[in-house]
């Protein structure tokens, strides 16, 4: 910071030679790039502080109170949660939900990115636009659409299944199918994000590397394994991390589709803490539940980002 003392357009500054030393110092301080940068970012910093930092610390405070928020109980809420089978089921479900959803999002994103990248340039924009639609529609609305599609009695899916001679499926009331359904909707919503990131990454791989590889004797599959994947390694790691965090903390899909049911079999952290904190009125316990996400995600983030930094240094 101290080395950024150059000022903006020193010629246009009025003569301050007669002004008191303090004012001159203040003017100099205000003219620093770093000062101006901070001032310009200030509105955002304030919003972030109000909406993220304050609630985060407040939830830590809340999680250490008793149900009626009258007494400090230390880590009692946490130990209570750790002793509950339902909580461990939520941990397991959140992990299954996040990992399988992110895996399929990444896989589908990678495949569609390749397909779109190999389309002729003329039609590419049209396809890119269409494939992005799931990501652009407000999630709550599109999930309602899916909820209707999955409806056991008069839904489109069961109508088709029945028409083809299969048995109807209780999509949202059978615990197994309910899990599949929420993951499916989450994948549908999130895959376009991967598509767009991977498409950008694919376009940034120099064409000559592929040419060099084909002269070296690589088949299309070998080029993908030895050139495309390593070149995209970092972007894959970052998107997976980002998506893992968002998916792990997902609320709307599960809440709208199943609200955690049947028999708590589809709860994830966010819906479970909503159930405990808002629905059942035990705000401190809900806060404690949501705080469990933090260490789990932090560990994942550290591992993934360490790999990203290492590769960044190597490849550059």
């Amino acid at each position: 910071m101290a080395d950024t003392v150059q000022s903006w357009g020193p010629d246009s500054i009025p003569d301050t030679a007669k002004a008191p030393v303090r004012v001159k110092g203040l003017q100099k301080f205000m003219r620093r790039h770093s000062t101006i940068a901070v001032l310009m970012c200030l509105p955002l910093i304030i919003i972030v502080a109000c909406l993220i930092v304050y609630p985060a610390f407040y939830s830590i405070y809340l999680s250490m109170l008793n149900k009626s928020q009258t007494r400090f109980v230390g880590l009692a809420n946490f130990t209570y949660l750790l002793s509950r089978d339902t909580f461990w089921m939520v941990v397991k479900q959140s992990a299954i939900f996040a990992i399988s959803a992110v895996f399929f999002k990444a896989l589908i994103g990678l495949i569609t990115a390749h397909l779109v990248n190999n389309l002729p340039v003329k039609g590419q924009r049209k396809w890119r636009g269409m494939l992005l639609v799931p990501w652009v529609i407000p999630l709550a609305l599109s999930t309602l659409g899916w909820w209707w599609l999955f409806d056991p009695t008069h839904s489109a899916f069961n109508y088709i299944l029945k028409g083809m001679g299969f048995e109807e499926i209780a999509w949202l009331s059978d615990p197994y199918w309910a899990r599949v359904s929420v993951i499916l909707v989450n994948v549908w919503y999130g895959a376009p994000f991967f598509l767009i990131m991977y498409l950008a990454a694919l376009k940034s791989v120099p064409e000559q590397l592929y040419e060099a590889a084909s002269i070296d004797g690589a088949s299309a599959w070998q080029k993908f394994i030895h050139i495309t994947l390593p070149m995209m390694h970092n972007i894959i790691a970052i998107t997976v991390l980002f998506s893992l965090i968002v998916t792990f903390a997902n609320f709307d899909v599960v809440q709208i589709m199943t609200a955690g049911g049947p028999r708590n079999m589809t709860h994830v952290f966010a819906t479970y803490s909503f159930l405990l904190g808002i629905r059942s009125g035990d705000l401190p316990l809900g806060a404690a539940t949501s705080l469990f996400m933090f260490p789990i995600l932090a560990i994942a983030a550290i591992f993934i980002l360490r790999g990203v930094r290492k590769r960044g240094r190597e490849i550059g």
Partner: protein, 366 residues
């Protein structure tokens, strides 16, 4: 190792003709340089040999076998790219061994090949590094190493030195020549730099606007250019061209009239060649090195003439002098001690044994 043959090879991009029916025979072991201005089709020709571009028409064969429809990997060629195209996520050793690994060579053999190539190129101590940690010259060496390890039938170079600074370029040029003398693989090398072409090539192919202008040894092209383009492209500074008129007859011998005052007598040896063109408008061509000071240079048929110097450029070992003949700028190359200052008059000597006459319509050298 193998010979390379191009028969009536054509490349069209939609309606644009990039390469128009090229014929070229490259015998085994030969170092051939394709040279020409940008957009002349030299890189496209190279990429067609590599298999990176499909050919629109014609036939390419490597080692006697037609390779028109073979993918690059089955043509047994190696290519060095302008920006090296090293795999950034692999070490130098991995970069070099990638081709062998894909061809399922045993590990021990790969190591022998890589070590051997590294020794030839003097990059043994770099084998564990990644491309990012290398300088431009080192990357260039690794790219060449990647080509050498495979021991292919043909080396293809696509302007490999143009990303290096001037000093390194000269150094790497020598290096490439040295490597070729060692491994003797048939080589096709593309460049826009005529100095590179002259210094490296066994034979130079001068291309212009998708066509081959002339094929020949560097000396051939320099002394006996076939067209005005070749005459102007090869040699630096470029050959002087002055519009002139071939006069003669009446028993007085042939003369070239460059201006009202300046007339050169055509040497006896050239007379039979030029006499059919007597009376025609021509372009007179003479290289700067054949316009010198008068003293001490007695080789060949010379003719002295006075000029007034326009610009004088001292280069150290020689001085370039510029003057005008009827509005056309002409360059001469003189001893630094003999050079006069700009604005002064000077007596120069044209060595007419090296003169060329060019037909202004067909642009062919007469």
């Amino acid at each position: 190792m193998a010979d390379v043959t191009l028969r009536n090879v054509v490349k069209k991009y939609d309606d644009v003709l990039a390469v128009a029916s090229i014929n070229l025979d490259i015998p085994n072991h030969e170092f051939v340089v394709l040279v020409g201005p940008s957009g002349c089709g030299k890189s496209t020709t190279l990429r067609m040999i590599a298999g990176l571009e499909e050919i629109t028409d014609g036939e390419i064969s490597i080692g006697g076998a037609v390779v028109n429809d073979l993918p690059p990997k089955d043509r047994d060629i190696a290519m060095v790219f302008q920006n090296y195209a090293l795999y950034p996520h692999m070490t130098v050793a991995e970069n070099m061994s990638f081709g062998l690994k894909l061809r399922k060579f045993p590990k021990a053999e790969i190591k022998t090949h890589v070590d051997n190539a590294a020794r030839i190129l003097d990059i043994t101590e770099l084998l564990g590094r990644r491309p990012k940690q290398l300088s431009g010259g080192q990357r260039q060496r690794v790219a060449m190493g990647r080509a050498i390890v495979r021991n292919p039938k043909v080396f293809l170079f696509d302007e490999p030195l143009s990303n290096l600074d001037a000093k390194l370029r000269v150094q790497m040029r020598t290096e490439i020549k040295r490597v070729h003398q060692k491994v003797k693989t048939t080589t096709v090398y593309v460049t826009h730099d005529q100095v590179e072409a002259m210094t490296l090539a066994d034979r130079v192919v001068v291309m212009n606007a998708g066509k081959i202008e002339q094929i020949g040894t560097p000396n051939d092209l320099y002394h006996h250019p076939a067209t005005r383009f070749v005459a102007g492209f090869i040699g630096s500074p470029a050959m002087n061209f002055v519009p002139a008129r071939l006069e003669g007859g009446n028993g007085a011998g042939l003369r070239v009239r460059l201006s009202d005052k300046l007339v050169f007598n055509v040497p006896e040896s050239r007379a039979p060649r030029y006499s059919p063109h007597t009376g025609k408008e021509v372009i007179f061509g003479l290289r700067p090195e054949h316009i010198t000071e008068t003293r001490g240079r007695e080789n060949g048929v010379g003719q002295e003439f006075p000029v007034v110097l326009d610009v004088v450029e001292p280069m150290g070992m020689e001085t370039m002098v510029y003057f005008r003949v009827d509005g056309t700028e002409v360059c001469g190359r003189v001893e630094p001690t003999a050079a006069k200052n700009s604005g002064e008059a000077m007596q120069l000597r044209a060595n007419l044994d090296h003169m060329h006459l060019i037909d202004p319509v067909s642009n062919m050298v007469l």
